[in-house]
């Protein structure tokens, strides 16, 4: 079973260091969630793992192989796929073109066709709209495109950056159910969320980040009941 190991990871934008040594483990058979305040460095961590950010030091490995210094395509082809913050669909392309670009590095036509079917089975709404230009989709549909596009790369570990951003509560629930479904089909998930309660409720394991460092980590059910988490992220106390 594959494990993503991150050890003392530091990352910076220009001269400003925003990750000051993060250590965590994400197992490909689990649904892991990462919560933390705005600006804690959650997105930065995902970008560092998937090669979108190059100024990193420390160690990251996957299947025992180092990921440090590898460019984005090489990470994607190893099965770690990033669904970036803010959807970032290809606005002037159709839903189908968006999904096919997710499979850009793959050559197995039959497998791609099969995964397209699976994506449509997961999000039937996208099948209805597959010829529609993505910029004309609703926010929720665009988020579905973003997730489905990530799945088209046939990931073993899917990193999702705030998929619930800007969605109505009902839709957030639906998206989270879909993520659980994806997880049951054998894809590891690292879910970055503001929506701490919902995320921890579906996760096996959780991490809490504070200003560039990991503050807490453990089984999600324990974090849900941890008074520090409740005070800071669950609005309780």
């Amino acid at each position: 079973m594959s494990v993503l190991r991150v050890e003392s990871l530091k990352a910076s934008y220009g001269h400003i260091e925003v990750l000051h040594g993060v250590t965590l483990e994400v197992r490909a058979d689990e649904l892991t969630c990462l919560i933390g305040a705005n600006g804690a460095g959650k997105s930065t961590l995902l970008k560092a793992v998937t090669g979108l950010l190059r100024h990193v030091s420390g160690e990251m490995s996957w299947d025992g192989e180092t990921l440090v210094g590898r460019p984005a395509p090489s990470i994607v082809s190893r099965g770690i796929v990033h669904v970036p913050e803010g959807r970032r669909i290809f606005p002037r392309m159709t839903v189908e073109e968006n999904l096919r670009l997710g499979a850009f590095l793959r050559r197995d036509r039959a497998g791609i066709a099969q995964d397209l079917e699976r994506a449509f089975a997961l999000f039937p709404r996208l099948r209805e709209r597959f010829g529609q230009v993505a910029s004309t989709l609703s926010g929720g549909e665009q988020q579905m495109v973003a997730i489905a596009r990530g799945l088209m790369a046939r990931p073993r570990l899917l990193l999702l950056d705030e998929p619930s951003l800007g969605l109505a509560p009902l839709l957030v629930q639906e998206i989270f159910r879909k993520l659980q479904e994806v997880h049951r089909e054998g894809v590891g998930i690292l879910l970055v969320e503001q929506n701490a309660f919902a995320a921890l409720s579906i996760a096996n394991r959780g991490y809490v980040m504070e200003t560039g460092k990991l503050a807490l980590g453990g089984p999600a059910s324990e974090l849900l009941h941890d008074p520090r988490v409740q005070a800071a992220y669950l609005g309780g106390g």
């Binding site: 984005a72 970036p84 159709t94 997710g102």
Partner: protein
């Protein structure tokens, strides 16, 4: 699978569909020499030449979405390289042309690889600086380029013992048409290829493209190199056709002109870009001071009252009108047009 609708998009069955529109266009263009009018053929040659250049620039600006303000630099490199290959090294035109294109690609790679990671505006400035540098070098490297006086008496292509002549341009016209057809063919293939999809993805959203596993720098550099190769190929043709080269043919205003053709025709749209080139070349002819003077003389307008650079005023006015009424271009790429239509609908 549904592709972007070029004239030669693969149909949904995946079979190759012949680009009938383009075949008809080339067939019609091939009839122009029947008029026997050398002037018309001369204008036709420039329309075809600038179509080639605009299609090349369109890879960068239209397909990849990167503003290139110095495309004429590659045109100049190709022109001077071909002149040097033919005159100094006694190579035949048919060897010099592909060599010049390859040299263009090489320069495109060397310039693109380090600079394409710059963000849009900085990249545009670098390309501008590059084309100015090309002019400086052509003006001052006298031993090779003959300096500011210009490169004289460039050899003509010879085919089966027939030497092309400028004053009877039929042969040059067909050569231009052949190079044009080659360019269109390559562009249509690129547009519907994996490479094309990578470029469009980069144009739409770089971060998303990278997250899909698209190697940004690699694909951008490749696009830059291919664009440069077509610019240089156009330059090689121009060198042999015009017979002399002067640095003033490769100034910034030519880059702007080619960019106007691309924007006016429709960024990313191959037929649009060709349309834009043909229209601007024809306008340029119409607005030449002598032609204008001749046309306006019966109305009693004295030649001295016609500004020499009137064409730039007209281009400027046209661009403003276009941006107001047809912002996506005269013949836009389908999905670009859709976006503008949508914005117009949602405007208050």
């Amino acid at each position: 699978m549904t592709q972007r609708k070029g004239k030669a998009a693969r149909s949904s069955s995946g079979a190759w569909r012949a680009p009938w529109g383009w075949l008809a266009f080339v067939a019609a263009a091939a009839c122009l020499p029947l008029t026997g009018n050398s002037y018309l053929m001369g204008v036709g040659i420039y329309a075809l030449l600038f179509s080639i250049l605009a299609m090349g620039l369109n890879i960068m600006t239209g397909f990849c979405g990167l503003l290139d303000l110095g495309y004429v630099g590659f045109y100049g490199i190709g022109a001077y390289a071909a002149a040097v290959f033919m005159n100094t090294h006694e190579l035949s035109f048919w060897v010099a042309l592909p060599l010049a294109a390859a040299l263009g690609a090489l320069w495109g790679t060397m310039l693109g690889a380090p600079t394409l990671r710059l963000t849009g505006d900085y990249f545009a400035i670098v390309t501008f600086g590059f084309s100015e540098l090309v002019i400086l070098i052509t003006r001052n490297w006298t031993s090779v380029t003959k300096g500011a006086r210009g490169f004289p008496d460039i050899h003509k292509p010879v085919l089966f013992g027939y030497e092309f002549v400028r004053f009877n341009p039929t042969a040059f016209y067909f050569l231009a048409l052949a190079l044009f057809s080659l360019t269109v063919f390559v562009m249509l293939r690129l547009e519907s290829s994996r490479l094309g999809r990578a470029w469009f993805a980069i144009r739409e959203d770089e971060i998303a493209a990278e997250a899909c596993g698209i190697n940004l720098r690699g694909y951008k550099t490749l696009g830059f190199a291919i664009a440069a190769a077509f610019g240089a190929m156009g330059g090689a043709f121009y060198a042999s056709f015009s017979g002399t080269l002067h640095w003033s043919a490769f100034t910034f205003s030519e880059s702007v002109l080619i960019l106007c053709m691309v924007v006016m025709g429709g960024l990313g749209s191959i037929p649009g870009v060709v349309l834009g080139s043909c229209l601007l070349v024809m306008m340029q002819e119409g607005l030449r001071p002598q032609n204008l003077a001749a046309a306006l003389a019966p109305l009693g307008v004295p030649a001295s009252s016609i500004p020499g650079e009137l064409r730039w005023i007209v281009y400027g006015a046209l661009l403003i009108l276009m941006m107001r009424w047809r912002p996506a271009g005269l013949w836009p790429q389908k999905n670009v047009a859709a976006e503008f239509a949508e914005e117009a609908d949602s405007a208050p």
